[in-house]
Point group: C2
Chain length 379, copies 2
Amino acid sequence: MTTVDHLRQVRLGNLRTVLLALVDRPGSRADLAARTGLTKATLSNLTEPLLANGILVEEPATLAGMGRPSKPLRFHPGGPVAVGAEINVSHLAVETLGLDGETIRRHLVPADIRDSTPDEVLDRVAELIRDITPARPLLGVGLAVPGVVHDGVLVRAPNLPKLVGSPLADDLRRRLDLDVELDNEANLAALAHLWPRHLAGEDFVHVSADVGIGAGVVINGEVYRGVSGFAGELGHVVIERDGVRCTCGGRGCVERYAGLDVILREAGRRRLDSLAKALEAGDPKALAAVGAAGAALGVGLATLMNLFDVPTVVLGGSYAVLHEHLSTAVQSEMDARVLAGGERHTSLVASPLGEFAVVRGAAGLITRRAVHQPERLFA
Amino acid sequence: MTTVDHLRQVRLGNLRTVLLALVDRPGSRADLAARTGLTKATLSNLTEPLLANGILVEEPATLAGMGRPSKPLRFHPGGPVAVGAEINVSHLAVETLGLDGETIRRHLVPADIRDSTPDEVLDRVAELIRDITPARPLLGVGLAVPGVVHDGVLVRAPNLPKLVGSPLADDLRRRLDLDVELDNEANLAALAHLWPRHLAGEDFVHVSADVGIGAGVVINGEVYRGVSGFAGELGHVVIERDGVRCTCGGRGCVERYAGLDVILREAGRRRLDSLAKALEAGDPKALAAVGAAGAALGVGLATLMNLFDVPTVVLGGSYAVLHEHLSTAVQSEMDARVLAGGERHTSLVASPLGEFAVVRGAAGLITRRAVHQPERLFA
DNA sequence: CGCACTAAGTTCAAGCATTGAACGAATGAG
DNA sequence: CTCATTCGTTCAATGCTTGAACTTAGTGCG
């Protein structure tokens, strides 16, 4: 590390600070200086290359009050964008996201890819991405998959066994000639509630269900990934040590009581929307199935909250759809079991992001990286 | 933040890097330069005030090989020291620790303080500290207590109700006229396995038992504290949703199956050493009690490991004493339940620190803070 | 004994990002 | 038209690391 490097680090750090302030909201140089604690001089200096490179634009001028009018800066409407993509058991989704946090376009297509080869899937994903990509510089692609990811490879995915082991990130990178970052859908869904806007505070768990149950834990505004990206395996938290056998080899895992497949089976339904209708109509079997799942989930979540010390739970994915009929049981188990030492209280909310949470998180991964490592913007 | 501040930050960061290298082992300026990536010039500059202030000493010279002999630098034998203190149900302990990581003196006295007032306890602690404090500058006191700590106050301590709510840190500070930092014993026991030397890798959970069960989770070389210092409440992880009632209001908490009180009761013993003797003698009742506790603990630990994605468990405190008879059952539950996706394997080890782990961690908290915030060394 | 060789540690001018104060620019109020 | 006010830019000063040159202090060999 040379001294020049040290100083460069300071500059990059300040650049990040400024960009973060701009993600929050646009502002003039003077305003940004006030918000970041830097001086006006530094702000002129830092924003100059951002304007020159088409990352920011200077708006005409704001005529308000006395003094010289300010010319607010904001992200350039033709500036770089990030792409998010999601591969899931029953659908594919793509989204483009600007640095300002606005969704540009999004697209979700049903698709049963359980029997497809990795090449077939990636071909379709690449096509979807090309279809929605605007004529603007591209920062890269975030790719979400339902399973454990390590080093750009899907290493474990009970529901997509055919994709396990392929270098998905590299293969998609080759197809598009773009940076591709592979990550787990649970982590990305959690990230979507955190970036570019905080939707559930600085600390929360995002829980969603397909066949498995994934939890993304957010602590201090960061997704907690654990040592090997394995963290948050809520599905295999034990709630009955001698309970039902689980595919993982253990017994009594939450997944065997609150997984979506279990809920549907117990309710005698085949698909989520049919279950939702039955609940709406007050079908007792459906209500009982969801209630039982909620209780089991609540026990598992209480354990998680006691270990991670997180106050908020966000129900996402299928759980968000079932939220209304699920949350009573979840909340009551949580209230009974989470240590209320001091002034703690647990809050339980449904995700506002709907079915696009994962793909938005995937795109957000890329815009976030660009803001945190501003040198990438000048490539 | 002025620019001067920025530059000062760079300097302090480099100072930290150098001190960390020295905690690892002594070395000449040239050696340190090589190890830290800084230049020899910077090292001369950085170490000059450390030598002037009696933090470091320059050793005579090492005559080895060709070239000008190097004069290794190490922490001054008369330099500042940290004090650790532990308040527990059945004993008090104190230890003094140098920046080099060497224990200077330690002392552990049995004491039943369950009925003592905070003032009585702190008087005794202050006396113990004065007894072992060497005639060297003092960096501060780390104070360990069995319970949840918030802002220098013990806010929850089922086993020491009389101390709850007193400003222990402030009261001890007043007695000694020293900085006092209060923390939870589980966190500090974990820290002791991490600082000043890594005894169990970069990522592990340290588990120990008294009446409750405390876990200190270490991720990436940092103690994970959670949002409000509550993290790692392994005792209230649920292993049987409809199991035994717990003081926390829930049911089936690990604590009710693997707590030390439960083990002793089931084994028909009153004290840990008596239990240990019975185990040695092969007493079936004792063996059964410990085996059952181990199984329950293993289930809870599997849940914790699936959530935190940590590969190693360190058994400390009473569990370390029982380790030989406990680990088989623990390990077998862990093996059965922890997701072995990919190449994961769980390892289970006994703490090498014995009964001084907590108090050593308490002192380590202070030396670590001094190294991480080197400006404190010049106060 | 002396000279070449090696490595440790020091000295010093150069380089760099931020700062703060001074300055120029653009508008509203009276 | 002039003053007050706020925005944005310019520029010398600051303080830290750097790298190269230099000094110091030994070893090895003839």
